[in-house]
């Protein structure tokens, strides 16, 4: 065995002259080199022998890294896992897509058959930034890719929309309701999408909506607690509905102690 070594002092290998590399060969074949710029090149590196920290390496420069079944063409951080094991889909992408049975994973409309969450009975919070008027929409019968910045880029039907103003609008949820006392000190007991009521005389009231109805084709219902009386919807407007409470015997409008209004529609 031949050895090149120093004795208690530095050992210098010098490829003299500009542009010359230091080369390492085995059986006449180059296995590694150190260029004049300091770049170390090797045919293989035994990772089990490495210690210390790796330098920062651009993900774009890494190849063959990862596990089977996961690919990435990201050029910035898209997913991170923090020290509390929270998996974060981070800002930069627009969509979190689930694709099923389609080679084009961007065809989000072919979503997984089932999207499941499990947390041993605990509640889940699903929310979006609705602070500026956005909403959460549940769309059925969509057949196209939701690929633009426009949240309405679908050809399906919004069956339920949870709005920033607190309403859950659909054809099957109440758009507004109120329970109020129309006797004595008139007061609203409880309500939804109701900003106020007008008291315009005995048994004559308006329910004002916090957020207007889309049109006047909505269905409004009214009822009351007292017997021998009737409640009627008098006039529908996009911002309010006028209701009245009548007493049969007196053939006149009469204050209602428990008066209810319920509104369905767009």
């Amino acid at each position: 065995m031949s050895t090149i070594k120093s004795s208690a002092e530095n050992l210098t290998l010098n490829a003299d002259g500009s542009g010359n590399d230091i080369k390492f060969q085995s059986n006449g074949v180059e296995k590694a080199s150190i260029s004049d710029a300091g770049l170390f090149t090797s045919t293989t590196i035994d990772a089990t022998k490495l210690t210390g920290n790796l330098p920062a390496i651009s993900g774009a420069a890494l190849t063959g890294v990862g596990v089977d079944g996961i690919t990435s063409s990201a050029d910035a951080t898209a997913i991170n896992i923090d020290s509390s094991e929270n998996v974060n889909i981070v800002n930069g992408g627009k969509y979190l897509r689930f694709a099923y049975n389609n080679s084009n994973s961007h065809s989000a409309f072919q979503g997984w058959k089932h999207l499941q969450f499990g947390n041993n009975g605990a509640n889940y919070i699903i929310g979006g930034n609705t602070a500026t008027g956005g909403s959460l929409k549940f769309v059925v019968n969509n057949t196209v890719e939701m690929s633009s910045d426009n949240a309405n880029s679908h050809d399906g039907t919004v069956s339920l929309e949870l709005r920033a103003d607190g309403r859950a609008t659909s054809q099957f949820t109440a758009n507004a309701w109120v329970n109020f006392n129309g006797e004595g000190t008139v007061a609203i007991r409880d309500s939804h999408n109701c900003s106020s009521i007008y008291d315009e005389g005995s048994g004559d009231y308006y329910m004002n909506f916090s957020n207007n109805m889309a049109n006047t084709d909505y269905a409004a219902f009214t009822s009351h607690y007292e017997g021998d009386r009737s409640s009627v919807v008098h006039t529908r407007a996009v911002g309010s509905v006028r209701v009245q409470h009548w007493q049969y015997a007196a053939s006149g409008k009469y204050d209602a102690g428990h008066f209810y209004v319920l509104v369905f529609g767009d």
Binding site: A164, D190, D199
Partner: protein, 103 residues
């Protein structure tokens, strides 16, 4: 606290209207109670309606249909809600706000 305003019945006779705020809606607003009531007046009363904010006891409704509105010293006039307030309180969407601002 409530809002009173002049109105007319179906026969065209002058009557007093009461605007009773919904507690949940009131709680969603910011500001003093008076500022909240002004917001509701601007939102629910037709623009230009004279009104007053009062805590008067109006629980005796024996002659309710004969009540009439008389202007007081603190009378106000309802105005349109600003676009900023409409957006802030989700009466309009960001898109509607942008459209209204020419965006």
């Amino acid at each position: 606290m409530k809002i009173i305003y002049p109105s007319t019945n179906d026969d065209g006779e002058a009557i007093l209207g009461q605007l009773i705020p919904a507690p949940k809606f009131l709680a969603s607003l910011e500001g003093t109670e008076e500022e909240k009531l002004i917001h509701i007046a601007n939102k629910d009363l037709p623009t230009g309606t004279k009104y007053e904010i009062t805590d008067a006891d109006l629980s005796d409704r024996t002659f309710r249909n004969a009540w009439e509105y008389t202007a007081g010293a603190s009378e106000k006039t309802s105005a349109d809600l600003s676009l900023d307030d409409q957006l802030k309180y989700n009466h309009i969407t960001q898109q509607e706000y942008d459209d209204a601002n020419g965006g």
